[in-house]
C-alpha cells in the first residue's frame, strides 16, 4: 500500500507527469481511431434508416457524443479545479486549464450539430428552450473560465478565481441533463437512460456508444497534449524543463 501511495504522489508533480502524459497520448489516439472508425462504419453503413426521421437522424451519432462530453468534461474540469483549490497542487489547476478549450469545443459541436438537426425536424435552427439555453450557458461557462484565467496575470490567483467559477458553474450540468424532464421543451427526452431499455435499434445504440467512446478518448488525448504545453509554459523557469532532451538538443 505504502508503495502505491508514493507512486501516485510522484505523478502529481509536473516533472514526472510530463513524460508520462507523452507516453500515454499515442494509446489514446489509437483507441480514438479504433472506436471512431468502427463507430462511423455502424453509423453510416449498418444502422438502419429511421422510420420517422429518415436519414436525417444520423446526426445523432455526433450530436449525442458531443453533448455528453461537453457535460462530462465540465465535471472533470471542475473536479480538477476543486482539487487544486483544496490541496494547492500545481498540476490539478493545469489539468483544469487543459480541459476547458476541449469542453468548449464539445459544447459548440453539440449546439452546432443540434442546430443542423433541429432545422429539418423542428423547422428552426434555434429556440430558447430549457435544454438548448442551458447548453448555451455551458458554452459561456467554458469561455468565461478561459477568459477569466487569461485576464489575471498571477497564475496562482488565476487558478483560484477559475476554480471558483468552475465549481459554481457545476450546478448547470444537472440542469442541462434533467431539463427535458423538468420543463416542457421541444427537445426530445433521453434516447438512452440508465433506468429503462433504450428506445432505439441495437446497431444505432452501439454506433452511438462507439462514437461516444471515440469522443471520450479524443478528449483525453487532446487534454494530455495541451497539459504538456501548459506544463512547459508554466514551469519554464525550472531546471527540469531546461534539462529536457527536446529543449537541450
Amino acid at each position: 500500500m505504502k508503495h502505491s501511495i508514493i507512486h501516485w504522489f510522484k505523478f502529481s508533480s509536473p516533472a514526472s507527469f510530463y513524460p508520462l502524459a507523452g507516453r500515454l497520448i499515442p494509446w489514446f489516439w489509437l483507441l480514438a481511431a479504433v472506436f471512431g472508425l468502427s463507430g462511423l462504419w455502424l453509423s453510416f453503413f449498418v444502422a438502419p434508416t429511421d422510420a420517422v426521421q429518415g436519414e436525417g437522424y444520423r446526426i445523432i451519432f455526433v450530436h449525442v457524443p458531443a453533448s455528453w462530453m461537453s457535460m462530462f468534461v465540465y465535471l472533470i474540469m471542475a473536479a480538477w479545479a476543486g482539487l487544486g483549490l483544496v490541496f494547492n497542487t500545481r498540476l490539478s489547476a493545469m489539468m483544469a486549464q487543459a480541459l476547458a478549450p476541449t469542453g468548449a469545443l464539445m459544447a459548440f459541436l453539440s449546439l452546432w450539430t443540434g442546430s443542423f438537426w433541429g432545422k429539418p425536424m423542428w423547422g428552426t435552427w434555434w429556440i430558447w428552450d430549457a435544454r438548448l439555453t442551458s447548453e448555451l450557458i455551458l458554452l459561456f461557462l467554458y469561455i468565461g473560465f478561459i477568459a477569466l484565467q487569461a485576464a489575471i496575470d498571477d497564475p496562482r490567483r488565476a487558478d483560484k478565481a477559475g476554480a471558483i467559477l468552475a465549481l459554481v458553474g457545476v450546478i448547470n450540468v444537472p440542469i442541462i441533463y434533467f431539463s427535458v424532464k423538468w420543463w416542457n421543451t421541444l427537445h426530445q427526452g433521453s434516447t438512452v437512460s440508465l433506468t429503462k431499455a433504450p428506445a432505439m435499434a441495437h446497431t444505432m445504440l452501439l454506433g452511438m456508444l462507439l462514437m461516444a467512446l471515440c469522443f471520450w478518448m479524443y478528449a483525453v488525448a487532446v487534454a494530455l497534449k495541451r497539459v504538456r504545453a501548459i506544463i512547459l509554459e508554466r514551469e519554464a523557469h525550472t531546471d527540469w524543463v531546461k534539462q529536457l532532451k527536446e529543449v537541450v538538443s
Binding site: F45, G54, T113, P120, L232
Partner: protein, 62 residues
C-alpha cells in the same frame, strides 16, 4: 448494405446539407484542435531552447 450507390449515400435521403454540415464541422474541429496544440507545443519548446542557448552563452562569457 443500405445504400444502392455512392450518389444515394451522399444524398442522405434529402438530408445531405444537415447531415454533412454536422459531421463536417465535427471533422474540421477535431482535426484543427490537435494541430493548434502541436503549434503551441512547438512554440514553447523553441522559446525554451533559445533561453537555454542564451544561458549557455552567458556562462561562456563570464
Amino acid at each position: 448494405m443500405i445504400w444502392n450507390s455512392p450518389t444515394e449515400f451522399f444524398a442522405m435521403g434529402g438530408y445531405a446539407l444537415y447531415v454533412w454540415s454536422a459531421f463536417g464541422m465535427c471533422a474540421v474541429l477535431l482535426v484543427l484542435e490537435p494541430l493548434l496544440i502541436g503549434q503551441r507545443q512547438r512554440a514553447i519548446v523553441q522559446s525554451l531552447r533559445r533561453q537555454v542557448r542564451a544561458d549557455q552563452l552567458d556562462g561562456a562569457t563570464k
